[in-house]
């Protein structure tokens, strides 16, 4: 027996069993305590509440919503809102981050200073303060009657009113798909082995396919436009209110703006780091081969910098996606706010928090999976110890 305890394998197995056993006991204890407390308060657990109508309404939804809709539909609305806000925020943050990051690596001293000031300011102010700031700013814009106008858009305290095309829903959706295809198809082309060439004729085929898809989008819009109406529906003042166009509520603008500006300052640092990671030697080699500075950038510097940035960028995107939960601070019905409201109304705290966790896990694991795929596909081959 003593000699058995001295055996390394037996010891490891015992320790492992002890660890698993205590973990299981802890979980079991938590569940039992929760069940007793719930029973004392007269709350029955379970997921029946999902199919009961909510009795309350949301202020922003991309899907049709009424107070009679069941709770599960509202969760879906919340997830769609979170994805919409998150995607908008990520795209804008990436644009801001790229511009600021490039400014920080620029040879122009003024550009570097501006970039650095931007990062220092916006990276060091808590996100929630920035959300409140933009929300306060937008809600203090003039009333509809004194709206600021720019490019057919109206800036008011009730939100941003943008023109929308007077096109049937199906045609509009198809045109959007065509635009997505115009971006996705050339990217896919670039990955097919026969055409997998980093420069030269492939770009011509890609450009042609992108142009083709965009032309399809234009035709769809022309065919699907509603008769007897102008192509674009501009918002305009009618009486005391604004008619026409699409209203982007202040809550959404404030959140998307804050995520873009705050996230942009982090992404700027990632972009800067990525460009710094590219060896000077590779750029000199490209220059010495007679490539123009622009070609050196597009063929050598950018592709290598992107490879250095992607893993960190994925991390940042997952972070920013979770930052959409700031919605509750200004009353934007994102997934988290819907979860909080549902807890208040149904009392099913544990179940709803479980749904919240599952929802964010699903969103962020998918995001991470996509980035891992891209990362793997473009990873440099072989041992990278040598420059």
């Amino acid at each position: 027996m003593v000699s058995l305890l001295r055996n390394q394998k037996v010891r490891n197995a015992l320790l492992q069993a002890l660890y698993v056993g205590s973990l299981a006991a802890t979980v079991l204890a938590c569940v039992m305590i929760a069940r007793r407390n719930l029973a004392e308060q007269g709350i029955t657990s379970g997921f029946d509440f999902l199919f009961k109508s909510t009795g309350w309404d949301v202020n922003f939804s991309l899907l049709p919503a009424t107070a009679n809709d069941p709770n599960w539909w509202f969760f879906l609305i919340g997830i769609v809102n979170t994805l919409f806000l998150g995607t908008t925020g990520l795209v804008l943050a990436t644009i801001v981050g790229t511009i600021v990051g490039l400014a920080r690596t620029s040879s122009n001293e003024l550009a570097r200073l501006l970039g650095r000031t931007y990062v220092d300011i916006f990276r060091n102010i808590p996100l929630i303060l920035q959300v409140f700031f933009w929300y306060a700013l937008i809600t203090h814009l003039p009333t509809p009657r004194a709206a600021h106008e720019a490019f057919g858009m109206l800036l008011t305290s009730r939100g941003l009113y943008v023109p929308v095309p007077n096109v049937g829903g199906t045609a509009l959706a198809a045109a959007m798909l065509a635009v997505i295809a115009a971006i996705a198809f050339p990217v896919w082309l670039g990955r097919t082995p026969r055409l997998n060439q980093p420069f030269g004729e492939r770009s011509t085929i890609q450009l042609a396919s992108a142009a083709g898809a965009l032309a399809c989008a234009a035709i769809l819009l022309a065919v699907g436009r509603l008769p007897d109406l102008p192509l674009l529906d501009f918002p305009a003042l009618q009486g005391l209110n604004l008619k026409g166009g699409l209203r982007i509520p202040p809550e959404f603008s404030a959140l998307a703006g804050a995520i873009a500006i705050y996230g942009g300052s982090y992404i700027a640092e990632i972009v800067r780091g990525g460009f710094k990671a590219v060896g000077k030697g590779q750029m000199e080699a490209a220059l010495s081969l007679g490539l123009s500075p622009w070609r050196v950038f597009t063929q050598v510097r950018l592709p290598l910098a992107l490879r250095a940035m992607l893993p960190i960028l994925a991390n940042q995107y997952v972070w920013l996606m979770k930052a959409t939960t700031m919605g509750i601070a200004v009353g934007f019905t994102d997934f988290f706010m819907i979860v909080a409201l549902t807890i208040n109304h149904s009392g099913q705290t544990l179940e709803v928090i479980g749904i919240l966790m599952a929802g964010f896990l699903a969103i962020n694991l998918s995001l991470a999976a996509v980035f891992n795929r891209i990362n793997k596909a473009i990873a440099l081959k072989g041992n990278q110890l040598r420059g």
Binding site: A285, A286, L289, G290, L380, G382, N383, L385
Partner: protein, 251 residues
């Protein structure tokens, strides 16, 4: 050599000066390299040898004196610089291959983008030069899958694919193991025998003796001595040259 080219030296340098801040890297350099001539530049580290050849293809900008390459002066005229870049190939100490492209693509990128050659033609040329540096079988690999010597030979092939008239070598063997040094030097000797104009910064004195028309010794930003290899190694007059040679050849 093509008879339509302007006559005169391949590289002509007159009173060249270069500063890095307060550091005086090159002092009043005069050097003329004829077409087809092979020059070896040696000297202790920090003596300005790399800076000198980097000025010839404009990786560094000089701040005094004149440099003319193939009869065209290097100045702030962007057109001149672009034209010269294509005619001067360079091989670096650290190879500097593009890690995200295959060996073949490394050799094709400049002909396709800069010389606007069709891909098929560029590929044929690239394969021919990979054959020449004796690694045709590595064409579809990525640079980091090759040994140092193989990478440097790819770098030479990449530069040759632009069919330059002048080749600059910046310590091409100083990071390589001994057996790899031999394979790179072999390629350079072949190139020299075919009449390429070559300016090599190197401490391979055997190579200098065998190939160079002139050996140049630099110290503290100046050309201290300039002589045919035999005279350079056996009867150099300068104290600093003799000291340097005893250090390089001493072992």
């Amino acid at each position: 050599m093509d008879s339509t080219l302007p006559s005169g030296p391949a590289v002509h340098i007159e009173g060249l000066d270069k500063h890095y801040g307060s550091f005086h890297a090159l002092r009043k350099i005069n050097l003329s390299v004829d077409r087809g001539e092979k020059i070896v530049i040696c000297g202790p580290s920090g003596s300005g040898k790399s800076t000198l050849i980097r000025c010839i293809n404009r990786l560094e900008q000089h701040d005094g004196g004149r440099i003319a390459v193939l009869g065209t002066e290097l100045n702030d005229d962007v057109g001149n610089i672009d034209g010269i870049g294509r005619e001067v190939g360079m091989v670096f100490q650290h190879f500097n291959l593009f890690p995200h492209m295959t060996v073949l693509e490394n050799c094709m990128i400049a002909p396709v983008i800069v010389r606007k050659r069709p891909r098929a033609e560029a590929e044929t040329t690239a394969r021919r030069f990979l054959e020449k540096v004796r690694i045709p079988e590595q064409a579809m690999k990525f640079p980091s899958q090759l040994s140092g010597g193989q990478q440097q030979r790819v770098a030479i092939a990449r530069a040759l694919c632009m069919q330059p008239q002048i080749m600059l070598f910046d310590e091409p063997t100083s990071t390589l193991d001994p057996e790899m040094i031999a394979e790179v030097l072999d390629v350079m000797v072949t190139l020299a025998s075919e009449g390429m104009t070559m300016i090599c910064v190197t401490h391979e004195m055997g190579f200098a003796r065998r190939v160079a028309d002139r050996v140049i010794f630099m110290d503290a930003g100046e050309i201290v001595e300039e002589a045919p290899p035999e005279a350079f190694f056996t009867s150099s007059r300068n104290e600093r040259t003799r000291q340097f040679l005893s250090q390089v050849l001493g072992h």
